[in-house]
Symmetry: C2
Subunit: 720 residues, 2 copies
């Protein structure tokens, strides 16, 4: 089998949405759903733009989809050919992970359509496709292509005041409703055969009608090149898009493709994990990294990755803690500049976090749970719709998931630990850590008659239990944030002896530093090695029933399990790793035995109702020498975007799309779990615990600026 | 019109449940629902016992209904006569407030049945009825009477292992399921005409069949006397019941009735509020006090009054804060010994409150929200059933309504303020106050970076908003509790200079006293006279819509408005007086203007979905000189148990019954509101604000051990 591509034969209408995710292509600047050339909004064809958000009316803010210039619809003798409507003889859809290609091959009675599509990894604003048409009989053919502005949105429309420009290169330009950001799209079409072209602006777009008489001997090739710019990229996106399209068209499809494939080759050189022993698993791991790379913001110095990547507007296109905990470590170990880019997004959005803390009456930085541009909180107070009443339900994700600030500080500290690079601290990461610590300080309470610091009324990683006290994950990540704030002085003084004091003065932090010092030992959880850690105050008092019991109580499969009313809320059934996640993030605090004890308690009580769960369980299972237990979670993580698995509904809200956290999680399990990679004080070690399915793992790592090539086999390992 | 009785003519089947409450008779030891002699469990006939609780299976604990010995069913020529099944020509039901009598008068074709019933106010264990039968034609009559053990229960059965004894006096005795408390009931029947009697034990009871040949000339009188004792009264309740029944039977119905009426006369002498100018209102006020007296525990030295009185098992027969805030003040001003009895119930149940605090990880006394015997918490974690799913809903009444401890301390302090009597403090009320203060201390938190004490995650009087921070009512009542704890030393030292120190040492309270002293100024709310007081942190940020808006969102009329999902929860619509209640309880803290400002804001936002609400609004409206606004609330409070109004459902839970808090509230509005009675440092003052409907009010008051007769007219007042 080919571990570098994934192919589906045949067509199933019910899979259209799922396939849109599985066969996604992207380059971090934009993502193109895995749809057919001739499809539109109903099949959720979309060019999802990173970092461009818009709000229509009172609806949720969400990212903007650009007009689609790779639209191409064939008519033969007047009959429109559309997969799903026109009968077909054969059909397949393929994604090539190595080269970042989407390939479609459909045999209809009247025409055989092949197409190849790429979103350029070499040039972020470029996307292109190549159609190859052949016919059994002579016939009259019309290709309808152009820039389609009737596009898929969840809460749209978002683009208004369209302007169109005809010519060799056609152009459509519009502005977003809320912030009036211009978005420009161009298209050129190259045909290597005689044809007539008519251009027209009709409802929803600017179109080309390309007519030709086809014969059965010839293979007809059509190359479409498109560029996309927005007002966030440049002052005149229309001009920029036009100018780039001219150059790219002059270069030709082939040259652009070549540059794209080379860029992917470089990416794989730095990140490929060669897994031997199980080709299915090897392919799934390649798919995971493919999806991760397809949405990584290499075009930017300060951007991040939404929780559903660039597969659509699900989860409001927002950045969650997923990025810091599940994606960031992949890049920190393989492509530190990109890791830095992700963290810089949090530095840039510090003002948003300061404003959010103030909104709730706190000091410091309370980062958005669903962070949009500028750190704007995308999460509303009503994040779930009750399936029985159709009413929005008051949820507390926005207000109470305070661990997000700790997760960000944790990642910034990890960046330093893995890379040895302190420069980010001077680019304001130090300020972020201090402001996060200040937030936790101001969010902490002390009982008047007890010498203990508490974080009350929070939601931990397990979102099914809202408004709990002293969630141990949250307390630990906050305590860690305190510790980082206190350690900063030493770390910064290596490069600049005065910077820390400068910062403390600037932020008027003297008193807070004292308070943090005093609070840390009273907040930091104390773990008894022989006891199961209680997830939060009173957790053990909840009904202790099985996952099946709880599932059996559902009256509607789309019911939300959490919140005050949910079937899990009053039980010990949890959504995802919580205590287990803490053990994965802070391995040095726990003995193998302790990890095992807690894993055995919590794993059967975990629904794994989030793509964040499997990875944490796998990493910790490796810790106590049970990679066999980790294997199932690894496969689940690595294959989620091959099978189109995962949850699709939270109440009545669609939450489908790709799963970057699981994609990153697959790498984490393979490298940190199975190979047991550890980077500490510049030293790289591995302690392999390969599951029986794997004979060897080979992968590159960068640590402290040095490149390593690591090979792990069943009996041996090598670090070069 | 007769302001001393209430009569309903005719029969409406749908009113059976309502009438059971309206026509209730009782003496504090037991309550007998206003049902027909021949009715049983289906019509909710019940003899509800005060303070005897039982749990069947996993159901809610609830008070026990005794077997019904006033059951009497007539058959004429073999035809059973039952109101509602047998056609009738005329029917009326009357309750006489002055004499505590239930009178029924039904004319059927075959028989004219009159009956009079009383639950003796002179002898708590005695109840009796007198049937008067007359016939148009000669006929054969059978009277089926006896002790019916097939009784109404919500979560029953509660009585098991019945033993029966035949004889002149028959007896049924059983034990409760949970605590094996024996309950004994006897019955004697006296007929002043020739008859045959057969006794038999059949299903559900011991019965007498009394046969006689009736003629149309004679009026047949049958007297039934019954006694009830339980194992909580005496070691051998069977013997006690038998012995009392013998004496009472020998004395005869008339003598027992006379003693009963005399006892009521004495009660009215001490408490009647003669309202002139509006007879409807005067009658409603009499009805309110009638209901209040019918359920007041004069038989005990330490008992209290359940939230639905003795009208059934609704609200688990439990004691709520209603008693301290709405009932206690009536007695504190008119019958201090009874006020003391109510407070002693809280002293006796201190161990339960200490245990409840410990259960939640706190120190001190956390009184039960729904207090049963021994202070056992009757409130479960699932106190509402969702109407859409039929699932119990996690509510936080049990865990978060901490103001209850403050309400109790408040009442104990008020007792001292009104009566000048410190003796209760030495009977452990001082300890209760200290333990309540200790609880609030241990329930208080302080932010690490702020010099402020907070009560977090509470429910205030407005139960529609669960889990709020710094509910101002709660903070104020807790601060008041702190203040009382600190003032205790001075007050106690008048009678015993060492007692306070003894108590502090005994309770190891030295350090807590210091902490309380320090905390008080940081907890006590500060009020800006010119601003509307925010009910809790963030209240003003909730949706500000109208009551009608919120009501219009209901999809089911039985929907619960509160809880996380309820229609009111995310709006400013509140269930009942909260800020307004605080202003009513602490009048000296607020200027008239301030009261008016807040009243005008909160009243339109108040659903008054509780019988506790109207009284507080009326009292405060009188404060700022608008008794006209108070009038509607007065009428609502005073008539609630004449109309059978009030809410009947909370989700799928039946919550009907009588409304003692509204009954007490009617007195409070008349005396403290309209007459403006105030007792302070032994001084009795009035400041009348009579509404236009009232020309005068006359009532007795006891303050500092001295009796006063007060008359208030439109232009004048007199204190004698």
């Amino acid at each position: 089998m080919d571990i570098w591509s994934f192919k589906k034969e045949g067509f199933i209408a019910d899979d259209i949405v799922k396939n849109g995710n599985i066969f996604l292509t992207g380059n971090g600047y934009m993502g193109y759903r895995g749809t057919m050339d001739e499809w539109g909004r109903h099949e959720m064809a979309a060019v999802n733009l990173a970092g461009v958000y818009d709000q229509n009316g009172d609806n949720w803010r969400e990212p903007v989809n650009a007009p689609n210039a790779l639209f191409a619809q064939i008519s033969v003798n007047g009959e429109i050919i559309t997969l799903g409507k026109t009968g077909h003889q054969k059909h397949s859809q393929t994604v090539n992970f190595q080269k970042g290609l989407h390939i479609r091959d459909s045999v209809f009675e009247a025409v055989h359509i092949k197409s190849e599509r790429f979103i350029s990894m070499a040039e972020p604003h470029l996307l292109a496709s190549c159609l190859t048409l052949s016919f059994d009989k002579d016939c009259e053919v019309e290709l309808l292509t152009g820039i389609v502005t009737d596009i898929w949105d969840i809460n749209g429309p978002h683009l208004f005041d369209y302007e169109y420009e005809k010519g060799d290169i056609i152009r459509a330009q519009a502005i977003t409703g809320e912030k009036k950001i211009p978005v420009a799209v161009t298209q050129s079409v190259t045909c290597d055969f005689p044809h007539n072209e008519k251009q027209e602006v009709i409802n929803y777009g600017i179109y080309r009608r390309i007519d030709f008489n086809a014969d059965s001997e010839t293979v007809y090739k059509i190359n479409i090149i498109s560029t996309v710019y927005t007002g966030l990229d440049t002052a005149d996106p229309g001009e920029a898009a036009m100018s780039l399209c001219k150059i790219a068209t002059a270069d030709g499809y082939g040259k652009n493709l070549e540059a794209h494939v080379e860029a992917w080759a470089e990416i794989w050189k730095n990140s490929e994990v060669r897994l031997e022993g199980d080709d299915e698993a090897a392919r799934a791991l390649n798919a995971s990294l493919y999806h991760l790379h397809s949405i990584s913001p290499r075009h930017s110095k300060a951007s991040s990755i939404p929780a559903r990547g660039l597969s659509g507007q699900t989860y409001k296109g927002a950045i969650f803690w997923d990025t810091e905990i599940f994606l960031f470590p992949v890049f920190a170990h393989t492509e530190p500049e990109l890791a830095k880019t992700l963290l810089r997004y949090r530095i840039e959005t510090l003002p948003g976090a300061l404003a959010k803390a103030a909104e709730y009456g706190y000091r410091g930085a309370f980062y958005a749970w669903e962070s949009q541009e500028g750190g704007v909180e995308g999460c509303t107070n009503f994040n779930v719709v009750d399936v029985f009443t159709g009413r929005p339900v008051r949820t507390y994700f926005r207000d109470k998931q305070i661990h997000i600030s700790g997760d960000i500080a944790y990642a910034m500290w990890r960046y330093y630990e893995i890379t040895g690079d302190t420069s980010l601290f001077f680019e304001d990461a130090a300020e972020v850590i201090l402001q996060c610590a200040r937030f936790f300080l101001s969010r902490s309470h002390s009982r008047l008659d007890m010498d203990k610091v508490e974080l009350l009324d929070v939601i931990g990683p397990d979102e099914y239990h809202e408004r709990v006290n002293n969630n141990v994950f949250t307390n630990q990540i906050a305590a860690h944030c305190f510790a980082c704030a206190l350690e900063l002085k030493d770390v910064l003084s290596q490069a600049d002896p005065n910077f820390f004091d400068y910062l403390i003065t600037k932020l008027e932090f003297e008193n807070d530093l004292e308070l943090i010092k005093a609070a840390l030992p009273k907040l930091r959880p104390v773990f008894d090695e022989t006891k199961i850690i209680e997830q939060f105050d009173g957790y053990f008092g909840l009904e202790d029933c099985s996952l099946e019991d709880v599932r059996g109580r559902l009256l509607d499969e789309r019911e939300y399990w959490g919140c005050n009313h949910g079937v899990a809320a009053t039980t010990q059934i949890i959504k995802q790793a919580d205590v287990v996640a803490m053990m994965a993030l802070f391995p040095s605090l726990f003995s193998d035995k302790q990890v095992e004890l807690n894993w055995n308690y919590y794993e059967p009580r975990t629904e794994h109702g989030s793509s964040l769960s499997a990875c944490m369980h796998a990493l910790t299972a490796c810790r106590f020498g049970r990679p066999d237990l980790a294997w199932e979670h690894f496969i689940k993580s690595a294959t989620i975007d091959l099978t189109g698995g995962g949850k699709h509904w939270a109440g009545k809200i669609y939450i489908g799309g790709t799963h970057p956290a699981a994609n990153g999680g697959a790498w984490l399990i393979a490298v940190l779990g199975f190979a047991g990679l550890s980077v500490k004080n510049g030293e790289v070690t591995v302690s392999p615990r390969l599951p029986p399915q794997i004979t060897s793992l080979r992968f590159p790592v960068i640590a402290n600026g040095k490149k390593y090539r690591i090979t792990v086999t069943r009996d041996d390992f090598e670090i070069l």
